[in-house]
């Protein structure tokens, strides 16, 4: 694809970064293109995915949910069962292994809820690299357990006090740190965002989700699903879940955005619903911003979806109509979180619950011989205390 060579997805993508980083991005792209075809790299990466992360992840038939909703047959892609409890490990193992092959001795990463930070700290511990994580101060308070987890894994956690003190500011600070020290340091970007080649690299590493799911569903059902659903912040689990279904035009691809208190309120993070075209964090894409191009403070109950932009490939899938993006509120997500726990005995991440919530609406409108796959991007242990608080119960984490 010519478009992709320049890091473009339709009009989106690109490399809008300070000159200080350009050389490093060019080297990263060259090294990635080299190693992704290197049999030794492929072998090591596949070994880590299988023996360490626990892949392939299960494609589980949610029979009770299916019967209860009375429409499409629902399957859950169980990324929550991966080591460290989310899809984040797929990308992180790939990038940290790549960093090591490139001769880097140190990795840095941003994190929102802490899942990507924990995954990066895990991979760095395993592969023997120094690790520093940037996390918004507000998030370090909301997710103090994950801060301690990262520290246990040997990472240094920087509490970011600039701006809104959340994920966006953690990305800013990680980028600033990278411009200060690129020689020995790789920036493990956690989502399909940022400057090229990150959206491509992260998507490639996450595409294992749809590669497996497509094979698994054909084996179990002998046909493709009618719909694939995933939650979208930056969009890494969603692009992973969509990617190998993109050529299958009959498969509807649905991304579920965080609508917070509602898309018509000031407190949401629904980029496709409310955002406009812009250039930020190295990429052209859609962003929540004001008319002067100032990036808006966004909100979601889910720290992992609390980001004012969306990856450039998603922006293009939206433009071309190949994927559809729908808003899901905090309340809907919390209800879905509780519903999945009671119905299937699965406590999923509040991020993933956004996709479950939309599935609850969509499945009953579909035929009984239709199949739906929901990407369950992570497990919900990290969210239990926050959900209890949302319901007015105070419990210690």
């Amino acid at each position: 694809m010519d478009q992709e060579k320049k890091g473009r997805y339709g009009i989106h993508g690109g490399q809008y970064v300070p000159e200080t980083l350009m050389n490093e991005l060019i080297i990263l792209e060259q090294q990635y293109e080299h190693f992704k075809k290197d049999p030794e790299f492929i072998k090591e990466f596949e070994f880590l995915l299988k023996e360490y992360a626990g892949r392939p992840s299960l494609l589980y038939y949610a029979e009770k949910m299916t019967k209860d909703l009375g429409g499409a047959k629902i399957y859950l892609k169980r990324e929550d069962l991966n080591h460290t409890g989310a899809h984040k490990i797929n990308n992180v193992l790939g990038q940290v292994l790549l960093a090591k092959k490139m001769g880097k001795t140190r990795v840095i990463a941003e994190t929102g809820a802490g899942q990507h930070g924990v995954a990066t700290a895990t991979a760095a511990a395993l592969l023997g690299l120094e690790c520093e994580i940037f996390m918004g101060k507000e998030d370090t308070e909301r997710q103090s357990l994950n801060v301690y987890r990262m520290e246990l894994l040997g990472a240094k956690v920087h509490s970011v006090t600039s701006g809104t003190q959340t994920l966006k500011d953690a990305v800013n600070e990680a980028m600033r740190e990278w411009t200060t020290r690129v020689d020995d340091t790789h920036y493990v970007l956690g989502s399909v965002m940022g400057p090229h080649p990150f959206p491509m690299i992260v998507r490639d590493f996450q595409s294992v989700i749809s590669e497996e799911a497509r094979e698994q569903i054909l084996e179990k059902e002998g046909k493709l699903p009618s719909a694939v659903l995933a939650c979208v912040g930056g969009g890494s689990n969603a692009i992973g879940a969509f990617y190998h279904f993109i050529p299958d035009k009959e498969v509807a691809l649905i991304g579920c955005e965080a609508a917070g208190h509602g898309v018509h309120t000031e407190k949401n993070a629904a980029t496709i619903a409310n955002g406009s075209l812009g250039i930020f964090h190295g990429m052209k894409s859609y962003f929540c911003q004001n008319e002067d191009g100032q990036i808006a403070p966004v909100y979601s109950i889910s720290a992992g979806l609390d980001y004012p932009g969306i990856g450039p490939e998603h922006a293009n899938l939206h433009d071309t109509g190949r994927a559809t993006y729908v808003p899901v509120t905090d309340e809907e997500a919390v209800c879905a979180f509780e519903y999945l726990a009671r119905t299937e005995g699965i406590i999923c991440a509040i991020e993933s619950a956004h996709a479950v919530a939309y599935a609850q609406k969509l499945a009953p409108t579909m035929k009984k011989d239709d199949i739906m796959i929901i990407c369950l991007s992570g497990r919900g242990d990290k969210d239990v205390a926050a959900i209890a608080r949302y319901r007015g119960r105070k419990i210690d984490e």
Partner: protein, 258 residues
């Protein structure tokens, strides 16, 4: 001759930066004129941005202060117009690409020309992406200033060949902010630039003392100071005009000695 060229004509240029609207628009006007009176040859005016990823803490805070008093893109153009009523000093805007993109490239550069802006620096618009707006800026006679970083290496000549106005040579890795040591190796970089272009090269990032300025100006065509000026504004607030005058004068004197 363009105003920017004039800043480097037969002299070493002192380039001072303020964030427009920090602490107010009227004060920015007063501070700029005070710096010009003290001998500043070119002024950079920052259009505040919510997420200035190339800035260190000092200028980040200035952005926050300016946004807190509702400084928007339009108010920066008003500031430029006010400066132009009093001075012909070359004016270069510094901002991130998103506020320019949202304003609309055509509308933005037409407005630059109308107000009397001479150039623009966008730290997140590298060589590979400048095609985004270079033609439109050129039509309106606005120089899009290119940056060269310590990591540019093989990219230096590619960038210098197409550079407009002056070249902004980033002295150090990382973000803006006062530094004890300036690590840039001008003896290595300048000949590479000179081989392909006669464009003036000014050094910025980290420069704060007259000693540093004098040393840099011995080889470079100009010295850019941002954070040290913004720190004075942070410290003296509304009363910063006089301390700014004294500071810029000491820097300009040092550069002239070089």
């Amino acid at each position: 001759m363009s105003r920017i060229k004039g800043a480097f004509e037969n002299k070493k240029a002192f380039i001072g930066f303020v964030t427009g609207g920090d602490p107010t628009l009227d004060k920015s006007l007063e501070f700029i004129l005070s710096m010009v009176e003290a001998g500043a040859d070119l002024i950079e005016i920052g259009i505040p941005f919510s997420d200035p990823i190339a800035e260190g803490p000092v200028i980040q805070e200035a952005n926050i202060r300016a946004l807190a008093v509702n400084t928007d893109t339009e108010s920066i153009f008003r500031l430029v117009t006010m400066v132009r009523e009093k001075s012909e000093v070359p004016l270069v805007l510094l901002t991130y690409v998103n506020p320019v993109f949202k304003y609309g490239y055509e509308r933005f550069f037409a407005r630059c020309k109308e107000a009397g802006v001479d150039g623009i620096i966008m730290p997140d618009l590298p060589y590979e992406e400048k095609g985004e707006l270079a033609d439109i800026a050129e039509v309106h006679g606005i120089d899009v200033i290119s940056l060269i970083a310590p990591t540019s290496n093989a990219r230096i000549q590619m960038i210098a060949k197409e550079a407009k106005g002056f070249l902004y040579v980033v002295s150090s890795m990382g973000v803006t902010g006062v530094r004890q040591e300036i690590s840039v190796n001008l003896d290595e970089i300048l000949p590479q630039i000179r081989a392909v272009s006669d464009i003036p090269a000014a050094v910025g990032f980290g420069v704060s003392t007259p000693e540093q300025a004098e040393r840099i100006a011995a080889t470079a065509d100009g010295v850019i100071v941002g954070s040290a000026i913004v720190r004075i504004i942070e410290k003296y607030g509304m009363d910063a005009a006089k301390p700014l005058y004294d500071y810029v004068k000491s820097m300009k004197d040092a550069i002239s000695r070089a």
